[in-house]
Amino acid sequence: MAHQLTIFLENRPGRIQSISKVLVENNMNIWAFTIQDRGEFGLIKMIVDKPKQAQLVLADLGVACAMKEVLAVSAADAPGNLAKLTTSLAEKNVNIKDAYGFVSPTERKGICFLEFENPDGVDLEETIAGHGFMILGDEQLYEL
């Protein structure tokens, strides 16, 4: 499983900058991020190359930061792949709470990050591997 950081930030100029600045100062790389806006604050969700160290660095900065496991799935950049992936998860009663992703045009590969609920505790690897997808852990992401 990959690890996602969720950071609580006030919705005002300079807050995201302060986070990205401290990460770069500590030689950390941001792979993907998305923001949920809630008026006076927002949650920034990030995939970084060293999530555990990043959480410590952010804690030292005094920001509220939580880490959770997310599903990082890689697939060939081809039409219909997302439909296939979501179908296989839906069939096993796995709920997708939030998702974001990117496509690497040079490698013709897509990576998507899924926050999920798996009430029946199904084996996710088995569920989606059969459809040609790969689940990536932190190390594999780092090697991309």
Binding site: R38, E40, A59, G62, V63, C65, M67
Partner: protein, 436 residues
Amino acid sequence: MEVNYWNTGIETLERPALEQLQLERLHHIVEQAFKTPFYQKRLTRAGIKSPDDLQTLADLCKIPFAVKDDLRQSFPTGLLSVDMAEVVRIHSSSGTTGIPTVIYYTQQDLDNWTDILARSIVATGCTSRDVFQNMMSYGLFTGGLGLHYGAERVGMTVIPIGGGNTRRQIQVMKDFKTTALHITPSYLLHIHSVLGEYDTTRDDLHLKKAFLGAEPYSENTRIKLEELYGIDAYNSYGLSEMNGPGVAFECVYKEDMHVWEDAYIIEIIDPETGELLPDGETGEVVLTNLIRSALPLMRYRTRDLAYVHPEPCKCGRTHRRLSRIQGRTDDMLIVNGVNVFPSQIEEVIMAVPEVGTNYQIRLTKSGSLDKLTVQVEIYSKMFTGDLSALDALKGKIKDKLRASITINAHIELHEPGALPIFEGKAKRVVDEREKL
């Protein structure tokens, strides 16, 4: 101008006779006070053994001041002087630190209170022909029920609608041709700003008079409201410790409020030293209730700042007049007519583990109405990263605050350490409201 009295004899009583009446009634209250554990101890310690120790009104100063904390410390029955079977009504306000204050009334006490409210209403020129829409909250708050019974005694047609629900308020005003209102000035301003949304103009209404109370406002706001609606608006003053509204009320001349001195002894003191101040000087209002037997309360420090002027009024009443309330000696906030202490908000926040102990209270205007925003910091260790948990947290704080202070607050979540750190609690309040 036409001047009407409810009780001509009392309202125009010559000062010496009025003061004699005060002394007689004070003796009765002291007698009642000796029946309570609180005053037994306090009066004895002050060297007062019986009502006879108060020979003249000047001896009143032998009685120690009472403060809100005395009411809390005496909760629930430390100040009750009659058998509970004689008590016919309870009013209560939420305390500043969780312990409420309670006021008891016998049937006679309610009759006395109702009578001075009838007197107040008649002093504004209202009669039994008026249709009275009482837009103050009913329930434990004294503002609603107090005026309600007073208006019934005058014989007005009373509409006990209570606060809120603007659409219905306007509809009822039209349906029953309401002529008189009891309302907070900010709500009356608000209603005017939304009349158009309900396809209503001032000409669809039949309003003549409004009794304004429960929050401070200026002469300019009164004039503005009178012009907006084409009405006469009257200032009123009261507090639950002194029964509720009707301690002082304006007459048709609207030149400050007559304190009903047969029912209350008013003193103005220097809030720092406790020394009596002469008429005309602004200080803390101290009141002695002369018409309530069930819960005697003497020389109660209201924390309200005002002054008394003794010049005779054109209406012929001999009861002196009280100025508008100029401010408070404590940190009490008035939000849309509801009294709130910052400590009540603090207590709620301290009991929520998901947020830190630093907070800020902001008061702003949303249109004519007050908006209370409570800013809190989320507590890092309790942060799960779940947005719905944060939404639920806001809802939880909002619910707890509503339960404690009866106000719908707007809750804002902030980063740990983002709010300014203050030493004193008063500074946690940022009041950006324009004064009414």
